[in-house]
């Protein structure tokens, strides 16, 4: 009879983390940026399978990594938000609570299951100047091990994170108009993909616009992107 090998918990966690990082690193990056009129979410995504989605009136989702896993998380988020809005009121659905729930669920899988989730997700909630207590925008990032962080201004998900962050750090300015934010995001994503510019039809871009009434999420089409990016 063979005895199972002893593996230290530290080693297990390290292996899992490495496995997850590898999976996430293979995919393309995604950027979330605050601009003057709301929040911009961008991803390099040549396929028709969305990486960015609407969760609720003021909340959007972005994921990188394994599509089937983060898309499942997106759907769970929609169910969670609609259920909460049905039970209480539409204004009670908040990004922070959702991000915490993601953090719990993803962290739970990381510690309990053999295979961790190969995903990182962003929950972005746009502020509404007309709604008392909800004026500020919030961006939360949940990593593959469930660790959660909040960000102001911008946030990056995916493979070439360090490089993209560096680029944003030196070029980001608050309250820039949509066109400027788009061009910044576009140039940052270009750095991730071997430095070559990403063509607008390879981009998935969505915005949460403060000025919209009710559901603030909107998907930008390629024509609109071309207008802004001038390509």
């Amino acid at each position: 009879m063979s005895m199972p090998f002893y593996v230290s918990p530290e080693q297990v966690m390290q292996d899992k983390a490495e496995y997850a990082r590898k999976g996430i690193g293979r995919g393309k990056s995604s950027i979330t940026l605050e601009f003057a009129d709301g929040i911009l979410l961008m991803a390099e995504n040549p396929s028709s399978l969305s990486k960015i989605g609407e969760i609720y009136d003021r909340i959007a989702f972005a994921g990188v990594g394994k599509f089937s896993e983060f898309d499942q998380l997106r759907k769970i988020g929609v169910r969670y938000a609609d259920m909460k809005g049905y039970q209480y009121s539409r204004d009670d659905v908040r990004g922070r609570a959702l991000a915490n729930a993601y953090s719990q669920a993803i962290g739970d899988v990381f510690t309990r299951e053999l295979k961790p989730l190969e995903v990182e997700v962003i929950v972005a909630e746009v502020g509404d100047p007309g709604l008392v207590g909800h004026e500020e925008s919030e961006i939360y990032r949940v990593a593959f091990d469930g660790s959660i962080s909040d960000h102001s201004g911008y946030c990056v998900l995916g493979g070439s994170e360090e490089e993209l962050l560096g680029h944003l750090q030196s070029n980001y300015s608050e309250n820039s108009p949509l066109g400027e934010a788009l061009r910044l995001g576009h140039s940052a994503l270009g750095r991730a993909s071997d430095g070559s510019a990403v063509s607008p039809d390879q981009l998935e871009v969505c915005v949460l616009e403060k000025a919209r009434i009710g559901r603030k999420f909107r998907r930008l089409n390629t024509d609109e992107l071309r207008q802004h990016l001038g390509g």
Partner: protein, 289 residues
């Protein structure tokens, strides 16, 4: 708590570890795109259930006259504002016509509580489907879903809590306004020109039968709607007329290709006054009888 996943065996968080999260809907086992099914499967304690209520014993508020008809640009839906409990007024300004999304509307008649709840769930249902699937339902699909929700209300309907809505919208694919009426069993019938339901529905229909034509302009459509509701309120005690004193006007929604617009109070006031003036001159029907 079950975390829905790739593989039911491996992608799971333990039950109980996240009770607060599970209770708020995170990690439900239901995998479909329907909100009303999610409610029934995962949160049966929150799903509307009026099976054990009896409408007669409880004396709950009832509506109503609601109507829908086609006009040149699309379809119009209108409803009065009165809810009654037996012979008493329960509310003078209840809303019976709701936009369910950018291009569809529901008008409710019957027991007010379950009807308003159904309109609310329908609205969430359409938005939920659109977000989960990434694409909205076709207008036919929406009407079909509503008919299933009415069928699910059958046990309550047998107790007297009948809900029979009208559903209307602009079909972006066919480029035309369309409308449906329903019966208690969830039967769904598409109407070609106009329809009215509720306690004063018969009178509204009689009125529309004379005035309706589907090439009507927006202004003519408003006139037809106000006239039909006024006629219904005239004959039916369960239907509220326009209350100039309190400033209570019917809810009138117009749905066309660009979306849904609600008729302004000032517009309705003007239309109503011109109808009244015409009738007072003796040119209209039954003014001096």
């Amino acid at each position: 708590m079950r975390f829905p996943g790739l593989d039911s065996g491996t992608f799971r968080a333990s039950r109980g570890s996240g009770a607060a999260v599970a209770g708020s809907g995170f990690g439900s086992g239901y995998q479909g795109s329907s909100f009303s099914e999610l409610l029934q499967v995962e949160f049966p304690h929150l799903a509307p259930d009026f099976r054990h209520a009896s409408g007669e014993a409880l004396s709950v508020p009832h509506g109503t006259t609601v109507l829908a008809f086609k006009y040149a640009e699309g379809v119009i839906v209108a409803g009065d504002r009165l809810a009654t409990e037996g012979l008493r007024v329960a509310s003078r300004d209840v809303q019976k016509v709701y936009a369910t999304d950018d291009h569809s509307m529901i008008a409710i008649a019957g027991a007010a509580g379950p009807a308003i709840e159904m309109a609310r769930v329908m609205r969430i249902e359409l938005e939920h489907y659109e977000k989960i699937e990434g694409l909205g339902l076709e207008l036919d699909g929406k009407a079909n879903k509503l008919s299933q929700m009415i069928r699910a209300n059958m046990p309550a309907a047998m107790q007297g809590l009948v809900v029979v809505p009208l559903f209307a919208g602009y079909d972006l694919r066919r480029k035309q306004g369309r409308m449906w009426k329903f019966d208690v069993t969830g039967g769904r019938y598409e109407e070609a020109e106009f329809e009215a339901t509720g306690s004063g529905g018969l009178y509204a229909r009689e009125s529309l039968k004379k005035s309706h034509h589907s090439r009507a302009s927006r202004q003519e459509a408003l006139e037809m709607a106000v006239q039909a509701l006024t006629d219904a309120a005239d004959e039916d005690r369960g239907t509220g007329g326009i209350d100039m004193l309190r400033g209570i006007f019917p809810t009138v929604l117009l749905c066309s290709e660009p979306g849904i617009a609600q008729a302004r109070e000032s517009e309705l006031r003007e239309v109503y006054e011109s109808i009244m003036a015409r009738r007072a001159r003796g040119n209209g029907a039954g003014a001096r009888s």
